[in-house]
């Protein structure tokens, strides 16, 4: 029996670049290079490991985003995913978390799945709620924020390290899983993988393929509105001293002046 794994990935502005907002207060994607969100690489890695341990499995990577988002899919394909789905539509511009989860859920249902794997959060929005939203929308168990994950006989098991406790979790498939950066180092694409990725299929779907109306997504359909976005004022230059043997004492003096001691 084939195990169908869908990995949701996001194409994000490079965090080391100068990220900005556009005039309509959406993220300015033209200003900074994009790439596959680093945290999604862990999801791709776990999907590949689960697939490698299964008799018969297929890993599909899925993204919602502009034309350039194909780069994120290519990266995942070069790591070893079998095929990719790109949901792209001009009407998606400005879609918020609720809308994104709707589009992803519809695409996952259309693709067919036994297991959905996501990263713990995107490196741009960082909310970390899309996996839970997908579980809610798909009506399947969420097994999220795992630092360890395994699948056997139609059951997914994992470890979730929380603030106050570490929990062992278990759910029947189909399910939605998210993994943290502790789940295991993500592999680098090999040259062979990069060459093979060029031949792998990338399907393109738009909103009509998913039976979603334009009004349900985009800036128009958003459930939240950003009223202002202001660049944080540059911090006033602090005092910097070179330690000449009294650095600790000088620092203590500063902390005392600020009433921390």
């Amino acid at each position: 029996m084939s195990l169908r794994i869908v990995v949701t990935v996001k194409y994000v502005p490079d965090a080391t670049g100068d990220r900005h907002f556009a005039d309509d207060l959406t993220v300015d994607r033209d200003d900074v290079d994009g790439l596959l969100s680093e945290l999604d690489e862990y999801a791709v890695e776990q999907a590949l490991q689960i697939a490698e341990g299964a008799d018969d499995a297929e890993v599909t990577v899925l993204t919602v985003g502009p034309e350039d988002a194909k780069d994120a899919l290519r990266k995942a394909l070069s790591m070893g995913a079998d095929k990719a789905i790109h949901v792209e539509d001009d009407d998606l511009h400005g879609t918020d978390i609720i809308g994104t989860s709707l589009v992803l859920a519809k695409a996952i249902e259309k693709a067919g799945y036994d297991l959905v794997i996501s990263g713990m959060a995107s490196t741009d929005g960082t909310a970390g709620v899309v996996p839970a939203l997908l579980a809610e929308r798909l009506g399947v168990p969420q097994v999220t924020l795992l630092s360890e994950v395994s699948v056997e006989d139609g059951t997914v098991k994992g470890r979730r390290d929380g603030d106050t406790a570490s929990e062992q979790l278990e759910a029947s498939l189909p399910a939605v899983v998210s993994v943290t950066d502790q789940s295991g180092e993500a592999r680098y694409p090999s040259f062979k993988g990069i060459m093979a990725a060029k031949k792998k299929p990338v399907e393109s779907w738009d909103l009509s393929d998913l039976e979603i109306e334009a009004e349900e997504v985009g800036l128009e359909g958003a459930y939240t509105a950003v009223d202002t976005a202001a660049e944080r004022p540059a911090r006033t230059a602090g005092t910097i001293v070179k330690d000449e043997g009294e650095g600790g004492k000088q620092l203590a003096e500063f902390l005392a002046s600020q009433k921390f001691i």
């Binding site: 965090a15 979730r160 602090g238 005092t239 921390f260």
Partner: protein, 320 residues
């Protein structure tokens, strides 16, 4: 006055500080009605009343401990239907955000996560968020449904504001999906006796420059002299020198203390994303060119193995 639901984060009845901060913010919008679930829920009432809860809705069932997240969503939804609040506020823990998100979809509402401030506006609550590694500050509103907003720790000062805090039993019927994800074992994290990282007023962090697990004792000693929590950069965590639960940064915890002391941390963007909203930032680093020095209120260019122990001794001496 409109009622505002506040989801209570507690451990066996002991209310955690971010929930008390949330009550302060909730009072700017309306009358806080607290929702406390699970073992010890009723014991939260005194602390919640002391901080402004007009009502405390409680419910306990084995499901909250035995299954992940969904039973709590069912209960919060029951509270939402019973109260018809003007907003729902939830602490921005990993679990809190998941509960809030699922509730938002169920009630057809928008969600804002990780707010760092909250005010009443003409068209509903206005949430401030700190984005792109704290390089931008945005103000947002939920424009569809009842605003569901999660708020980060240290976003408001805890203020006492005694209110009735009348305890009422919440009636909850769990959905079929509530038992989908079973918690088969739970190992409580051993307490270090130090404050919780995300809640602490002072955080002392160590990075690559600490150069070994055993050397973290120097960082811990400074933290203990200040009553601070201990943090670590990703480099230190990846090297296995300190637990991942203490990691500050994009893939770890985001902290916003009154004072942040970075020792042997260069200040890569991923780390800055997790600490840049700290009120006062101090760094100790050998490398005068380290990007962390761009952020500091006070920086010492020097060897942390000299500076940190000297600072610790000085703090102890001054505290007597």
């Amino acid at each position: 006055m409109a009622e505002v639901l506040v989801y209570v984060d507690h451990v066996d009845g002991a209310v955690r500080k971010p929930t008390l901060e949330l009550l302060t913010l909730a009072r700017r919008i309306g009358e806080p009605v607290a929702v406390a679930l699970g073992s010890g829920a009723e014991n939260t009432a005194a602390a919640l009343a002391e901080h402004g809860a007009v009502k405390v809705l409680t419910h306990d069932a084995a499901e909250y401990a035995d299954y992940l997240v969904v039973p709590k969503v069912d209960a919060l939804q029951a509270a939402y239907e019973a109260v018809s609040p003007a907003a729902v506020l939830v602490p921005s823990s990993a679990e809190g955000k998941e509960i809030a998100a699922r509730l938002a979809v169920r009630i057809g509402s928008g969600i804002i996560t990780d707010a760092v401030d909250l005010e009443a506006g003409d068209e509903g609550p206005v949430a401030t968020q700190s984005v792109f590694a704290a390089s931008f500050t945005t103000k947002s509103r939920v424009i569809k449904g009842t605003p569901v907003i999660t708020v980060k720790p240290n976003s408001a000062a805890v203020e006492a504001a005694p209110a009735a805090g009348a305890v009422e039993a919440l009636s909850v019927s769990f959905s079929e999906k509530a038992t989908g994800t079973k918690v088969t074992a739970r190992t409580p994290r051993e307490s270090t006796g130090r404050p919780e990282l995300t809640e602490a007023a002072i955080v002392v962090s160590g990075g690559r420059g600490v150069n070994g697990a055993e050397n973290f004792a120097i960082i811990e000693a400074l933290a203990d002299s200040l009553g601070a929590a201990v943090g670590a950069s990703r480099a230190a965590v990846d090297a296995g020198w300190y637990p991942h639960t203490n990691q500050v940064g994009q893939t770890g915890k985001s902290v916003s203390p009154q004072l942040y002391i970075a020792s042997g941390i260069s200040g890569a963007i991923q780390h800055r994303a997790g600490m840049q909203t700290s009120k006062t930032i101090v760094a100790i680093n050998k490398d005068a060119e380290a990007p962390i020095f761009d952020l500091v209120d006070y920086g010492v260019v020097g060897d942390l193995f000299e500076v940190v122990p000297q600072l610790t001794e000085e703090v102890k001496a001054r505290k007597g």
